[in-house]
Amino acid sequence: MASGEVLQSVLRPAGPHAHSIHDLWLLMFWTSAAVFVAVLAFVAAALVLGTRARRVGGPSHASERSLGGVVAGAVALTCIVLLGLLVASVWTGRHVASLRADSAISIAVTGHQWWWEVEYEDARASRRALTANELHVPLHRPVVIKVTSRDVIHSLWIPNLQGKRDLIPGYTTAIWLQADRAGRFRGQCAEFCGLQHAHMAFDVVAEPDGEFERWLDHLREPASAPAGDAERRGLELFGARRCASCHTIRGTDAAGQAAPDLTHVASRLTLASGTLPNTPAHRRAWIRNPQEPKPGTQMPASPLPEEEMTALGAYLDSLK
């Protein structure tokens, strides 16, 4: 990305919800700018007139009655402007809320300290698909995200696509979004949630329907069986070194619920909720000492011998 570019921005909307809010932003910004300039111009004028009156002396040139009229007029104008902005705000709110459809893709996102559990819902349980810290959405199709939290309050926010929504334990709420531009959009937790609130991000990949369906089909698959000796040893170690007590790899015995599903971990864009690029080297470094890039994370350090790390790494690399 070119320098000066930012990865996530309210000012570059990529879907109808974000567009509609952006229009409201423009209206508010220009109205506010005009009001600001007008008020400060009056302050400046009052300052000039007032200081001149002190220097020159003599009675005040403005009668109380005419001043009262001007002040009343300014108050009336304030009320009108505010009423206009209120109407615009409510109208935008209704419009944003109306952008939804029954045929939408439904995704359940559950917040954890400090990662996002993502489940693509389906009426048939066998067609549900689980991943973490990454959403794919088809272009031009509404998506509904049902959010809740397993521990503390988090907030799901993808500035380019939609406003934020809190993930509150004990509550499930739904938020709609839609991407009209292909690309990778970053989202980030926006409610303070403890030590690693800063490193609780995720990616949203917006892609054409076909690519999305292929991705989702692949996500539903269990992990491919280990191909070589190294991978087999890696799977063994995944259980023996207690990775499996927290992580799930579908198609194996690993079924831990406390941490991200790793069935297709090697195909994801980032590691540790957007903290690191998901390269083989970063995966190994992360296992060795996750506390270094993300102090406080719930994942303990695993200083494995080189042989074991090579095998475990090879296995994880194979989880495409």
Binding site: M1, V6, L7, Q8, S9, V10, A18, I21, L24, M28, S32, V35, V39, V43, A45, A46, L49, G50, T51, A53, R54, G57, S60, H61, A62, E64, G68, V71, A74, V75, T78, L82, L85, L86, A88, S89, T92, D151, I153, S155, W157, P159, Q162, G163, R165, D166, I168, P169, G170, Y171, Q188, A190, E191, F192, C193, G194, H197, A198, T275, P295
Partner: protein, 653 residues
Amino acid sequence: MNTHVAAAADAELGTFERTWADPPGWRGWCAAIDHKTIGRRYLMTAFAFFLLGGVLAAVMRVQLARPGHPLLGPDLYNQVFTTHGTTMMFLFAVPVMQGLGIYFVPLMVGARSIAFPRLVAYSYWMFLFGGLFLYVSLLLNAGPDVGWFAYPPLAESLYAPSKRADVWAQLITFTEVASLAVAVSIVTTVFKLRTPGMTLNRIPTFVWAQVVTSFMVMFAMPAVMLASTALILDRLVGTHFFDVEQAGDALLWQHLFWFFGHPEVYIIFIPGSGLVSTIVTTFSRRHLFGYLAVVLSLVSTAFMGFGLWVHHMFATGLPQLGESFFTAASMMIAIPTGIQIFCWIATMWSGRVSVKAPMLWILGFFAIFVAGGLTGVMLAAVPLNTQLHDTFFVVAHFHYVLIGGAVFPLFGAFYFWYPKITGRLLSERVGRWVFGLLFAGFNLTFFPMHVLGLHGMPRRVYTYLPEMGWGPLNLLATGGVLLMGCGVLLFVFDALAARVRVGTEAGDDPWGAGTMEWATSSPPPPGNFPRPLTVGGREPLWDNAPDQPVVVGLRPGMRDVLVTHVLDAEPDHRQKFPDPSVWPLLTAIATTGLFVASIFTPWAVVWGSIPVFITMVGWFWPRSASDGGTRPWPVNGRTLPAPGEMPAAGGAI
């Protein structure tokens, strides 16, 4: 003959000052109840906490100056930002405004003392001990780290097992006790101790602002005390108010907290706007334009301030109709604020304006506060709020509102009232530099944060990735802090220098102002007014008749105070006020013991209340049957003493 009268008057003045003075020595220091002593302590302590909170802010800015900066880890950063917010809200903004109230409200209403002076002394000690408790905890690596808003479940013991969240919750208890005590004292002072002639529509706007704020304190603070007590109970004895697993509710906290938290903003801003009215009036050399409208704006702001709390919760996903109501209410509150701004402009417009140092801060206030108010209107719109909430845009917004709306007027007030408090003027030339540094530094620090928020930077992050593109603007913001720091240091230096006799002598009324505090010497004597002046207009020093009557019948050798009627301030009776006492300090020590111990064991509430009870018995122990109490006002059938009527010799009645 004349010299004889003068000597008698001098003797009477000496008796009067001895009667009202705090006792000498360290014991007297502990027993002080003079509202000016307590007010000064409040102001200086709150300013010290402002400096500490500022240091924490600077540390945060250095940490965020570049991506991945290793200066602070998340654990320390969370303690620092929580302590910064908690300090600025509870240990600076509210107490500094109440400190001004304690010092100036009795003077401005022509009273000899604040009502309940011992309670106010107790309040100061509680405030001081609470603040020390917070900072000792921070130094022991037990500073609160759950945010100044302490949302459960994050603040529940499951996710915050150490004592840090308890420190936060108990600090709230300390500061609430302190501010409630001041609030009732100020309301009582204004309603019952005004000098004759100061009818409701002659009360100075700053005093109105203090009354309105005090009422807000009384209605808002109980909500947060309730909430923080429930949190302490959850953590200490395992209740389930906010425990989702046990049918508690995480959103309940947010409603209770913001029912306090939003009015809190106005508790800080309303005194600020009272300061603006005062300074604009004085330096425009005319009565405030639209006094009634300004006062009614203050009152209506206070009412509306209680109807906006949900705009802190728009991202929780509330029903749309409810959201629209709170959007409308949040926008509507801009109207009374607008009315005040227009009245201030009209006052300057038709006045004779001199731009002395205090006025400079008011001009800065206009620029900053109006910008902050406008971003507030943006945040009131639900759709936009869902994008901007909990981002640096909000950080920018509320610093524009609070620093613009409260701290700039406050600095104006420092320059305005410093001569009254110390008898010496601050330097105009240095004042211009201080203002310039703070104004430029402030905008450099906080303006870029609007853009950062729009570019997706959330609040309360201890670091960010280099590829986010937030580095340059963060560096700029950190640079601004340097300027602000220089400005504040220069101010402190100038204030200290002026204190050690570099400053010009002020005289009673260096600005030619019109309110009562300027009718006595600088600094005012103990007891404020040897012969309280009655009031013949809104700005007594401008409006009073040359033969304006003075109050008679108060014994110079007694702590006599004239109590008046609420509406028209007609004399009602005189009351003997309490003497200085160390019991408020001892009670505060006992209360502090109870509060601190009770974060470790619930039994502290039982055993700790015994010393509190004992010290309170000492506090209220009557000295004699004839002591204290009320006496009927002697001038029968007359609301005011006759013009020129002098106090009877020896004050005998």
